[in-house]
């Protein structure tokens, strides 16, 4: 007769089961948060002040070693901070001044000065970092924020 009814034992089983699930969820959350990446101020991942913008001539590509990006000034004077990491599988892409392109040594992807893909296997243009020019006319690059693009677009280019 009582086998159809929801017994006290069933109830307790469910409550304890739920408490167990909750405990497991809490502990996993704590564990994951504990292991989540820490902020790295100052070095890569931090903010870089590169000084006055007119120190960089149009049509120049300046590597910023510690920030792992290139400061690109296009012919028309616009600025881009191009992340060095290949969008294919993460190799460090050097700039080849002879041809004016980024050429990845690993699997041969090629990119324009703006970072647009000329040659696969890279699936999308090189990523950018957020770049701004402050009131003093200095270039400030925040390497904690990377911008992924499907297409190059003029909206990413910062002009003085």
């Amino acid at each position: 007769m009582s086998n159809r009814k929801f017994s006290r034992k069933d109830f307790l089983n469910i409550v304890w089961g739920a408490a167990g699930t909750l405990a497991a969820a809490e502990l996993s959350f704590i564990g994951l948060r504990f292991l989540s990446p820490r902020a790295t101020d100052g070095e890569f991942g931090g903010v870089f002040n590169l000084g006055p913008y007119d120190g960089f001539p149009p049509g120049s590509v300046t590597p910023v070693e510690t920030g792992r990006f290139y400061l690109v000034r296009l012919e028309d004077g616009g600025f881009l901070a191009v992340y060095r990491r290949c969008t294919h599988l993460g190799c460090a892409v050097p700039f080849d001044p002879a041809v004016g392109q980024f050429i990845c040594p690993c699997h041969g992807s090629e990119f324009t000065m703006e970072g647009d893909v000329l040659n696969a296997p890279a699936p999308r243009p090189l990523d950018l970092f957020q770049l701004s020019i402050n009131e003093a006319g200095e270039i400030v690059v925040d390497t904690s924020i990377s911008i992924e693009r499907d297409q190059p677009s003029p909206e990413h280019i910062v002009s003085a």
Binding site: L35, S36, R84, L89, C91, P105, C106
Partner: protein, 459 residues
């Protein structure tokens, strides 16, 4: 002077008492019954049943591969613990530790080599063990879940290798791990957070080294230990499948584990230990220049066991090359024992004579077919170029995948039409895919040069 009525019972000497305290009970009695009882009382022998099937002891059935995995795990644990005392997991000091191992520390090179070669060998032996189980239908009920645990361990073995790969912090390590973790990046939605968690930041750096060190010396070994214990316990409880010839009944004959199995295991372990030590004494684990995050070598290759995937990635859209194809493969692999209905061929190599023929044929077909595919893809096939109106995940993803699946289905139906049993046809498909993967891995390791162009050593 004392007036004891009876002298006190004579106590054994200290050394004897120590020796006897290690062994619970006396040394093996000469008779079978006594031996079996001794086994029941012994911790070391608790992992074996007291009697084992006599035909299953035949070396050419298991090839001792499971046992070899245990030996390798033990060597890795011992040499690994030794290395912990020398190694500092920081970008500034890691490479120095490697140099110290080579130049200052007694037997430093030997211990590092042993660890390196045992680790790599374990991947190979893990796969061979899987193959021997597959081709003898060793996953017959009730052993299906042991197969699943086996796959999990294989993944853990690869994870252990991969995390260990970074620790020397040389160019090889740095870029192989960069390329390897970038593969994960292509998983939709969770790929990026996962990679970030693993790397401890956006790129391989100090945090990555700490993470990989923790995974490599604690988490992964603990996981392997836990699952191996479970695996071995199941092997003991389910008993190992019994080998037999075609049309032969399963032989029921049994022998006692001690000494029949134990002596084989002991000799086998000793021979392998000798081989490994000799090899490690003469062949050094690779070490390149210290890692330089600003300069990628050309070509930058993943670790050798990932070369098959890297090769897939050269031919397919990343979501397919890195996720969908390996994912489908892994899922099918896990489900194999549950899909297999034909279990009256258990213990027969390749199931039947016809099965043997098909396996050989399919292997050859897989090698030739996948090599042809790589060749065509390099010099002629250009799906994204031919189908420019479709996005590349269709033209270079769904289209080739569908073509390959259709070809496989055609092959399967053809085999069935020629009167193959389901299990034989499945075995043939498995073999074909295995051969393709081996071929891709081979191409990736040996035939890819600068810029990942196809090159031939003889040209």
């Amino acid at each position: 002077m004392s007036d004891h009525p009876t002298p006190p019972a004579e106590k054994p000497a200290l050394l004897t008492r120590i020796r006897q305290s290690i062994q619970r009970g006396p040394l093996p009695p000469p008779d079978d019954r006594g031996r079996m009882k001794m086994v029941m009382n012994s911790l070391v022998l608790h992992i074996h049943p007291s009697k084992v099937s006599k035909p299953a002891l035949k070396f050419t059935y298991t090839f001792g591969l499971g046992g070899l995995l245990i030996l390798l795990a033990a060597i890795l644990a011992i040499t690994g613990v030794l290395l912990i005392f020398v190694y500092t997991p920081s970008p500034d000091a890691a490479y120095e530790s490697m140099i110290a191992l080579q130049t200052e520390i007694y037997f430093g090179n030997l211990i590092r080599n042993l660890h390196h070669w045992s680790g790599n060998l374990m991947v190979v032996v893990g796969v061979l063990h899987l193959l021997r189980v597959f081709y003898t239908a060793g996953f017959a009920p009730p052993r299906e879940f042991n197969w699943v645990m086996g796959i999990t361990m294989l993944l853990l073995i690869i994870a252990a290798n991969f995390t260990g790969y970074l620790l020397p912090w040389d160019q090889l390590a740095y870029w192989a791990v960069t390329v390897g973790t970038s593969l994960l990046d292509y998983i939709p939605v969770i790929g990026e957070p996962l990679t970030r968690l693993l790397l401890g930041g956006p790129e391989v750096g100090a945090a990555t080294l700490t993470n990989f060190y923790g995974l490599h010396i604690a988490l992964i070994p603990l996981g392997i230990f836990a699952i191996v214990s479970f695996h071995i316990w199941r092997v003991r409880k389910d008993t190992i499948t019994v080998p037999r010839k075609i049309n032969q009944e399963v032989a029921k004959e049994k022998v006692t584990t001690v000494p029949h199995l134990i002596s084989i295991e002991f000799v086998f372990a000793l021979v392998w230990l000798a081989l490994l030590i000799t090899w490690s004494a003469f062949v050094n684990a690779p070490l390149e220049e210290a890692a330089n995050p600003a300069h990628s070598p050309n070509p930058a290759k993943a670790a050798w066991y990932f070369m098959g995937f890297q090769e897939l990635l050269l031919h397919f859209h990343p979501v397919f090359g890195a996720i969908i194809i390996p994912g489908l493969g892994l899922l099918t692999l896990i489900l194999l024992p549950y899909l297999d209905q034909d279990m009256d061929t258990v213990g027969i190599w390749f199931r039947s004579i016809w099965g043997r023929v098909l396996t050989g044929l399919s292997f050859a077909l897989g090698v030739v077919g996948s090599f042809g595919f790589v060749w065509l893809n390099e010099y002629w096939l250009d799906l994204p170029g031919w189908l420019p109106f479709w996005p590349s995940f269709i033209s270079n993803g769904w289209v080739p995948l569908a073509a390959i699946l259709l070809l496989l289905m055609g092959y399967y139906e053809l085999l069935k039409a020629f009167g193959s049993k389901t299990c034989e046809a499945r075995q043939a498909i498995f073999t074909l895919l295995l051969a393709s993967f081996i071929t891709l891995t081979f191409v990736g390791i040996f035939l890819r040069g600068e810029g990942m162009a196809l090159i031939f050593p003889w040209s």
